[in-house]
């Protein structure tokens, strides 16, 4: 690159801004080609010198708003990465960390008991040691580690992420800081900021608890007005609120350890909330059932019923059938839970009693004249209008219905369509199982009868209503030949 002297200062600025993006990519490729640590070290040493020199120059010339021009030339990070190459980079450091793990410096990780986690911190420390002050190749390293978080079981540890933030070049003169709102107004897409943003999104996805340290580090690194700090601030703001909204927060690593039955339990708790819910597990009679399930499936029936549902079922009219509907699908993170609902149709309005019974004229006359009941000659009670008083301890306020100022609002509402009519009847119980046949679900009813005697009198109808998710085509959409006239039917559409 040969340029006249007048342009040198400008080029230096350009180079300074491009440097964090371009240099490590070059260095990375060198490393991978030779596949040796020594070569990598050497390349760091060479760049370190140039980097320091450039820093000195850049302090002489202040930059204003050239960052916008640079932003167009940037490429997204992922496209420039080769996953296989990164894997070998990671393997290299893991091997090294395994080798060094027993050393005296590990005293820092005394409180980390999981060997995988310990390995993680050791590995990052090793990388920091080798990368030096400039942290050359930091973005490649961070992205690779971000992909491999689950391997070390550190997904829900916030300290693992803050450790990754240490891998960014630290200090005042990195050029990453956006401390003034004016700089933020240009929305320059700096690769490190985008990466930081991604990192924080990962924190939110994995359910690690954000803390003050995260916020402080991002403000130190990227400045108050960078997108990364915005993201950090927003998850700090939302985390507590989302946790309280969720009620049952669970970290990713905890979720991984759940058995299918536990997943079903947690799913049921969300579907049928209530602290008094009665959870039961009923066996399935496998002699009657023809289905054969895979290994990881639920082969029993996990049922939930709240006391309110139990009382509703006790009041159920035996003449009306009860339906078992399903299977429905519920997604619980990446796992699915298949459940059935036991319910009935909404009760129709009762026919008018006035049209049924014929009122005698003498009876009318009697009650009007004597003010007593026709049959028993007893006086009517004032409060209930019947022969016996309604047993209510508290005095009742007798006031016209429309007299209060609040009732005025209710009076203005009128029903235009029958949209408020009850479409669904009451739900009596919900169960989770991976069986699909009615024969298997008989075990559920048998189990429920022990606590709900009324169920023995009712007729239970199994109504198969597959959810649209289960009806979806099972073939890969990329393999469909669109030119074939019958492709829809082949794919499973009807």
């Amino acid at each position: 690159m040969q340029l006249p002297k007048a342009c040198e200062a400008v080029c230096c600025k350009f180079f300074r801004l491009l440097q964090p993006l371009c240099k490590p990519i070059v260095g990375n490729k060198v490393l991978v080609q030779h596949n040796g640590a020594q070569v990598f070290k050497r390349s760091i040493n060479t760049t370190q010198v140039t980097w320091q020199r450039l820093q000195k120059e850049s302090t002489e010339n202040e930059i204003d708003d050239e960052s916008e021009i640079v932003a167009k030339d940037l490429e997204p990070i992922d496209s420039s990465l080769d996953i296989e190459e990164d894997a070998s980079l990671l393997e290299h450091y893991i091997n090294k960390a395994k080798h060094d793990l027993g050393s005296f410096e590990d005293i820092e990780y005394m409180d980390v008991f999981d060997p995988n986690k310990k390995l993680y911190y050791k590995m990052v420390d090793l990388w920091l040691k080798e990368a030096g002050e400039t942290r050359r190749g930091h973005r490649e390293f961070i992205v690779t580690v971000m992909h491999a978080m689950s391997r070390f079981n550190v997904e829900s540890d916030i300290s693992a992420y803050t450790k990754l933030l240490d891998c960014f070049p630290q200090g005042e003169h990195t050029g990453l800081k956006r401390d003034h709102w004016f700089l933020a107004a240009f929305k320059d897409k700096i690769a490190d900021h985008l990466l930081g943003d991604k990192l924080i999104r990962l924190i939110a996805e994995n359910g690690a608890i954000p803390n003050e340290e995260l916020h402080n580090k991002t403000t130190d690194l990227f400045g108050k007005f960078s997108p990364t700090t915005f993201a950090a601030r927003s998850i700090l703001f939302w985390y507590g609120r989302l946790v309280s909204f969720n009620k049952y927060p669970m970290s990713v690593s905890d979720f991984k350890q759940l058995s299918p039955i536990e997943v079903a339990f947690y799913g049921l708790r969300q579907i049928n909330p209530g602290l008094d819910g009665n959870y039961q597990c009923f066996p399935v009679d496998k002699t009657k059932c023809t289905e054969i399930l895979d290994a990881g499936k639920i082969d029993s029936i996990i049922s939930v019923q709240t006391p309110e549902q139990q009382t509703l079922l006790a009041k159920h009219d035996p003449m009306v059938p009860i339906f078992i509907e399903g299977p429905n699908l519920c997604y619980f993170r990446e796992k699915t839970v298949q459940y059935y609902v036991m319910r009935t149709d909404p009760r129709n309005k009762e026919p008018d009693t006035a049209s049924k019974s014929h009122i005698l004229a003498t009876k009318d006359w009697w009650t009007d004249f004597y003010k007593t009941d026709w049959k028993t000659d007893k006086k009517f009670q004032k409060d209930s209008g019947k022969l016996y008083s309604s047993e209510w301890l508290f005095p009742t306020i007798h006031c016209d219905k429309n007299l209060s100022s609040k009732s005025e609002i209710e009076r203005d509402i009128c029903q235009i369509e029958k949209d408020t009519e009850a479409v669904e009847g009451p739900v009596y119980a919900i169960a989770c199982t991976d069986y699909n046949s009615p024969a298997a679900l008989q075990g559920w009813i048998k189990g429920l009868v022990q606590t709900n005697k009324k169920l023995a009198l009712c007729s239970v109808v199994f109504r198969e209503e597959k959810s649209f998710m289960l009806n979806a085509p099972t073939t890969d959409p990329t393999e469909i030949d669109i030119h074939d006239p019958n492709f829809l039917e082949d794919a499973g559409f009807q």
Binding site: E212, H215, D373, K386, L387, K406
Partner: protein
């Protein structure tokens, strides 16, 4: 010399104000009757039911026939007789009853029981014709105050007299009276009520005890379990409430409450004593009925109408809390002044410290207030209207109960603070006072239920009276609104023109016609005015609340509870005024001291009540009702304490840029 001062004062007052002044001390006719014939009472008022004194306050009315005169025991002879009797009872208890032993063994021995029977303590409320003493309510509650030396004995005697006899006296027929009342008076039979159950508590409509007719139709067969039956082990006659099936309109079968008189000899009854924290000798039991055969003649009232009896029973048993507390607080004040005057701290007597005196003053104030409320209510309970029905004092009795349990906690706390560490070493009277108070206050109905009962009762009456005014204000037309306003102001204009024939309410006759006609002592005029203005603003608030919520008020429990608190304060104020007025006019001992107390009470409650009224007002800035509703609901649904622990997340504020910024600023300012 000392005797002549009151007489001088009286004379001076007579000269100043003339004869009408003496209206304040005129007593009703029946007050002159001797103790023995109290059961036959004269007619004093004819007021429809559900329109009692405390209910009328909600409509801005104070019934002067309640306030003047403050009720007293009729004649001087009767009073002397009563005082002698009280002295006798007190002496007996001091000589024979050792409360420590009673608590330790948990039993009142047969000797003491026989002694109580010989004194006639089991025949107090039984009418004279059946061999009882036939005391009026006023005299009865005076005796309870004396008996409060030992609260277990009070409970046993009260459970026999009032709730135990109430159903039989009020609803029983002549045969039942003949059969039982004589035996009850002699103490051969001991009565009690079995009402509460484990599952229902205060909700008396939800009892699960059942009764059905036998096949021959001669017996009712009773099954079920009752809890918290006072004196259950010793009692022979239970008033039991159970559900029976009855046929209502359209051949509908429903379960309604029925009351039975069950003797222990009917069989199938087993009792099991409960180990309570307080009232240990009151023999509180769980009573089990297994196929107990009750003859048809022993049904109280009619089948299916037991709920009314149950309500009257629980209403009647509440008032005893008041005299019991009053007696105990009397003794506590005497005790604590003795202790503090003997003890020296920092070179001075504790009783000379102003802060200690403040505590003693608080106790005195509460006791004075409670006493005035108790005897006012008891006196009014003796009144009988034209139809021969007793005055409906259920709201007032509930007010006394709620108030006495409120001041119980605060006064005992002050008492123990003053006694100091001596009250903490398992000391006999102190620990016992608290435990007995705790049990008896819960036994007589929970405060929140009673508050709702008071508030809704007042609002029910107010809604009936104010309905026309609300409707007129709601109607919207200018003409209607103007009419409604005119209706209100017309009365006031008539007063200004001195044309009024009726003194408007609320009024002690202080404004309007003439100041000389009032019955109030002149020094109490100021307090009278304060109470009038308070009643006015209470009525206004009730009107606003009714206009806003109407029928929906039954669901607004916070508002109803607050209105009940106002009703309690107002009732207390009026009682104090009436009592203080009486002692001023009669120039009783320490009348000036009473004056000071009344003055302090009025000032304090006036302020307190206005604060409560502000909380339910239309301006939401005063209160926290919404926050309270929402936060309370959240905790109740989650069933745990919600806020995170203060140390839950490591908070590195020292690294926080904002913190550093502020720190620098502070440093700059200080340097």
């Amino acid at each position: 010399m000392t005797a002549s001062i009151p007489t001088c004062r009286l004379l001076a007052r007579c000269l100043r104000n003339g004869q009408p002044r003496f209206k304040g001390i005129c007593v009703r006719k029946h007050d002159y009757q001797p103790l023995t014939s109290i059961a036959v009472r004269t007619i004093s008022t004819s007021r429809p039911r559900n329109e009692s004194f405390a209910r009328q306050h909600a409509t801005g009315k104070i019934d002067m026939s309640w306030v003047f005169p403050y009720p007293t025991v009729g004649s001087e002879e009767g009073l002397n007789e009563l005082n002698d009797y009280c002295k006798e009872v007190k002496q007996y208890i001091l000589d024979n009853v050792n409360s420590k032993i009673l608590d330790h063994t948990g039993i009142i021995s047969d000797e003491i029981m026989q002694g109580l029977k010989d004194l006639g303590l089991f025949a107090l409320k039984v009418p004279k014709t059946f061999g009882g003493k036939g005391l009026s309510n006023l005299e009865y509650y005076r005796l309870l105050e004396t008996l409060s030396l030992d609260s277990s004995i009070v409970e046993v005697i009260h459970a026999h007299q009032v709730p135990g006899l109430q159903g039989l006296m009020q609803f029983g027929n002549g045969d039942q009276h003949d059969k039982y009342l004589r035996q009850l008076a002699s103490g051969k039979l001991i009565a009690t009520v079995a009402l509460e159950e484990k599952a229902s508590g205060s909700d008396i409509a939800a009892i699960s005890c059942k009764a059905h007719l036998s096949e021959d139709g001669k017996h009712w067969i009773l099954n079920g379990e009752k809890e918290w039956v006072v004196n259950g082990g010793r009692a022979n006659l239970f008033t039991v409430f159970a559900k029976t099936e009855v046929v209502d309109l359209n051949d509908q079968v429903v379960e309604k409450t029925t009351a039975f008189l069950v003797e222990k000899s009917f069989g199938g009854i087993s009792t099991d004593a409960t180990n309570t924290t307080g009232l240990k000798a009151a023999n509180i039991c769980t009573v089990k009925f297994e196929d107990t055969q009750v003859p048809v003649q022993n049904v109280l009232g009619e089948v299916g109408f037991g709920f009314e009896i149950a309500v009257s029973v629980i209403n009647s048993k509440r008032l005893s809390m008041g005299p019991m507390m009053a007696g105990q607080l009397h003794r506590a004040i005497n005790d604590v002044t003795e202790i503090t005057s003997q003890r020296k701290r920092f070179g001075m007597r504790v009783s000379d410290c102003e802060l200690a005196q403040e505590k003693i003053f608080n106790m005195t104030l509460d006791t004075y207030l409670l006493e005035s409320m108790v005897y006012m209510t008891a006196g009014q309970m003796d009144k009988i209207d034209k139809d021969g029905n007793p005055e409906d004092c259920s709201i007032e009795a509930a007010i006394v109960k709620v108030f006495s349990s409120k001041i119980g906690w605060s006064s005992f706390a002050e008492y123990f603070q003053l006694v100091g560490l001596d009250s903490c070493d398992g000391g006999f009277p102190y620990q016992r006072l608290l435990q007995d108070f705790q049990v008896s206050s819960i036994l007589k109905g929970s405060d929140e239920v009673l508050k709702l009962y008071i508030g809704l009762g007042c609002l029910q009456h107010a809604a009936k009276v104010m309905e026309d005014r609300i409707r007129a204000a709601k109607a919207g037309g200018f003409r209607e609104k103007w009419t409604a306003m005119w209706d209100v102001s017309r009365i006031q204009i008539r007063i200004l023109q001195n044309k009024a024939t009726v003194i408007p309410h609320p009024s002690f006759g202080l404004k309007g016609e003439s100041q000389t006609k009032t019955w109030l002592d002149k020094r109490l005029n100021n307090m009278g005015r304060m109470i009038e203005s308070l009643t006015d603003s209470y009525a206004k608030r009730v009107f606003e609340v009714l206009r806003e919520h109407g029928k929906g008020l039954k669901n607004e429990q916070v508002i109803v509870g607050r209105l009940a608190e106002v009703a309690i304060n107002l009732y207390g104020l009026i009682c104090v005024l009436a009592r203080c007025n009486k002692s001023q006019i009669l120039a009783l001992r320490n009348a000036d001291h009473e004056m000071l107390l009344a003055f302090a009470i009025t000032k304090r409650l006036y302020k307190e009540t206005h604060m409560i009224l502000d909380l339910i007002g239309p301006l939401k800035i005063h209160g926290h009702a919404d926050a309270q509703k929402k936060a309370g609901r959240e905790v109740a649904t989650e069933r745990r304490y919600l806020p995170s622990h203060p140390l839950e997340v490591a908070h590195r504020h020292e690294e926080h840029p904002k913190y550093l910024e502020q720190k620098n600023k502070i440093l700059e300012l200080t340097n």
